[in-house]
Point group: D2
Chain length 299, copies 4
């Protein structure tokens, strides 16, 4: 089928190639014309502006966004909103907050434009060769696109999860779980690291990936990481985060649901981004006040 694709970064460009492999006609756009040319070279139709995407597709159009969540998504959707016609479909493949997606769908509905939220997992490799995609949207809007979704996902990797919003919600929770799993794994390796035993972490990860209860793709990545740097001496333990982990915790708060492991996973990331903390200073000062305990003076 014909599909517009806006956003040709790491994820988008690979998705374009994946679509092209499956004989879809991809009208591809990016703010960076070189990225457009690259997809053109791979067989895609170049579009050097959002308008060119719209103009090179016939209604009902399907346009997939693979741009950063937040302001950029907002801006592109606004631009499309002014140019699309009733019956066209916007698929947001980014990590947008599901509340924004719900609002966006409402807003587009006023013009008769359909909205689908597509949470995408599996990384760059998945985008290229078979992604994992969780879709939210009306049955009748999603149905004509399903063959295309099946084409670009791996077996069982496509799910029409429910109504609009349910796809991004599911991706959000997926990432929340991911935070918890990663922190659990990492805490385990820290305990190994602090022990008197002398483990070969790559070998440990390989063994754990072979028949143990904790075998997982993340553990395979641990194995791969230790294969490259056997004690991770080259990097600092600064754990950045994008928005989904935070949204998951906020959602848990909204639902008045305890999610201690996901919350702590996120908070330990925040902690890792600081060298020193005011919390620590207050506690240290307090200990000094009541017990005369030494404080560590600022050097």
């Amino acid at each position: 089928m014909d599909i517009g694709l806006i956003g040709l970064g790491k994820m988008g460009s690979n998705l374009a190639k994946n679509l092209l492999d499956h004989h879809h006609n991809v009208v591809a756009n990016d703010v960076n014309p070189d990225a457009v040319d690259e997809v053109k070279a791979a067989g895609g139709v170049p579009a050097y502006s959002v308008t060119e995407v719209v103009n090179q597709l016939e209604s009902p159009r399907a346009i997939w966004l693979m741009v950063p969540a937040g302001d950029v998504t907002k801006q592109v959707v606004t631009e499309l909103r002014d140019q699309l016609e009733a019956g066209d479909v916007i698929i947001d493949g980014g990590n947008s907050n599901y509340k924004e997606s719900l609002a966006r769908a409402e807003e587009l509905k006023e013009k008769g434009i359909h909205f689908i939220d597509a949470g995408t997992s599996g990384g760059v490799e998945g985008a290229r060769n078979g992604a994992c995609i969780m879709i939210g949207g009306d049955r009748e809007v999603v149905a004509p696109l399903e063959d295309m979704f099946f084409d670009i996902t791996i077996e069982n990797g496509y799910l029409h999860a429910g109504e609009v919003g349910s796809g991004h919600f599911l991706k959000m929770v997926h990432n929340g779980i991911e935070y918890g799993m990663m922190q659990a794994i990492a805490e385990g390796f820290e305990i190994l690291n602090k022990s008197d035993f002398n483990y070969d972490y790559e070998e440990v990860a390989r063994m754990w990936n072979s028949g143990s209860v904790i075998r997982s793709w993340l553990m395979e990545l641990v194995q791969s990481a230790f294969a490259k740097d056997d004690n991770l001496d080259q990097i600092r333990g600064v754990m950045n985060s994008s928005g989904e982990g935070k949204w998951t915790v906020e959602t848990a708060l909204d639902f008045e649901t305890p999610a201690p492991v996901i919350a702590l996973s996120l908070m330990m990331r925040f902690r890792s981004q600081e060298d020193d903390t005011f919390t620590g200073k207050v506690v240290a000062a307090l200990r000094n006040e009541f017990g005369g305990h030494d404080v560590v003076e600022k050097s």
Copy 2:
């Protein structure tokens, strides 16, 4: 090779069959003679007492224990200690605390008896068809047994992790990670459950197992569990625990290492075992004291 096997429960009986499949000569014992007879029927040599195990093996003997950690392991090791000879090997395949294994090795060394700690993962299925085994022990003690270890494990599922204690330590940490991963996954599904969306959890798990970052054996088990009971209506959320999660947290405390996710995973299990808490009563009473907030009276 000839191997003694004491403890023919779910894990032990399957391990026996696994060993027999690989043409090892298994002298099998259990407190339950029926379990012994079952292994006999499968081709094993029956032993109706620990002494019969010892007597039917020639020195240097290798005797694998698959009995519950703690008192039972202690008792069996004590009994063996009095009957074995220098050069014999005891392999503890249970979930013993690594500190006990270290002490046990020292104690046995006085009589020249060797000790190997074998952390075993992969569940009943693994024991039967290919386990994941992490071994601690002296190189020269482990070496003659390695062919046997390779036989009963799946590819890459055998690791000689290091000195005595390192196998049980690794298994302990494995279980700590497992606690964290399980709690992370479960928190995620609780958030899905509290949402207004109407997910099919089995389908969600299947999709997440297909190309997503959180694909894992545990997620496969989630899929299987939801396949049987699509809303888990049949069971209560009481999360029991055996010792390894607790030991992992204690070890983190000993190492002065934060392990918040593993610790909280364990504590939420404890919480699930209580209907009401004194903590909650104190907070509720306090809120009533200062703010006149209503308390929930005991019905």
Copy 3:
């Protein structure tokens, strides 16, 4: 001075009496006319509608709201907005979210109406005899009201904390700290409760209030609660929460600051409100899947 007071619940009615004690002229209103009559009997000027409050005060008016945060506050402010004149002041003494207060101040500014946010602590007793009040607002707006604020607060219990919003922000954080302190205290008593020792909790609290590091008003309330019910047998440990704890955690997330203790205090409250959890069911089902561990069937 003349002051309007809207909202005569537990806090408001006591604040009215406190103001009257200090010879302020209180024009008092509540949706419940009986509450108005009660303040009238105590010497206040009755107002049976918001309009009557406005009409019985001369410009520049000062009107204190002691109504529930959220919708009610919004509604009363909207009503006042239409009736007040430039130079009048609205003091929000409720537990409003500081972000709403910031927005409210902006909105009122368009009409020249001033806004002061007043976080109030100390409970009903404090409202009556000397509260603790943290004020956010412009210096020149706050200044003419300071004598009144000093009158109704205890020594050092009044603070002009900073600009608009800073009062409610401070109250929010105060409550976040309170959550953490309460949970810490409660966890301690639970550990006492689980021990083999046979403590008299009232005596313990009295002793801890007498010279120990953890002496505090909250511990005094613990003492008082145990004096009434020595084992808290009469109540259930259901810990409710109003919004401030949640807002504190959300603010920490916004600031990318770890606040694990405040977050967990809140989450344990959420947990206490549930009899059973989906999280627990998922973990229990998983344990059953991989280890054949028994699950607790629903009775």
Copy 4:
């Protein structure tokens, strides 16, 4: 009464003066003879060895230890054990683990020597002018000493909590609560610190100490600390810990009781003692593996 006092550090020397103020006859010893001389100058009886303490007291002796918990306490008790007679009493005023105190009492009982565990709070100032002391011991052993205990404690600051061990247990839990309260307070100030408002922390603490729900001795110490260094710029946020917080968490684990706030308070202290973490490296490496996210290279 006559009392031996071993250990004249910050706490012990002030306790000696407190006892002398109340006309008790203090036979004082320390490894540092200067400390002994100081007490001598204040009116105490000098003892330059444990033996001199024993010899200068008549049976039944009461000897108070104010030495570091752990090895030093063990060593002094062992020395005393060999020299004391049946009916003598050892009072351990240090922060010993209650399990050790229980074992110690058993051991001393074999020689007829009594043991009392005395948890002491209130810091140096309390030791000097009125401490808070929680006592574990047999009724008949404690009774003859109670006048002395009342003398050196502030009103209501003395509690005979129960049997041997109950005093140190109570002190342990006291410190656990203290950890939680301190972390809660500190997290609150960190959130203030991260906000756009410009708080004067000393003033905030003073106000919160005046009528608010969170008024407490710890908040008074916060006030004092900020009075000295208004932004705590002079110190680093390294939060050390002695053993009681850890023991409280271990005890919670032993009782299978959730104590998330106390546990996290401790773990954040551990975290503060590290510049970088292996946990963080593993998570950072994983993010790089699956998402191509940048890692922070070691400089």
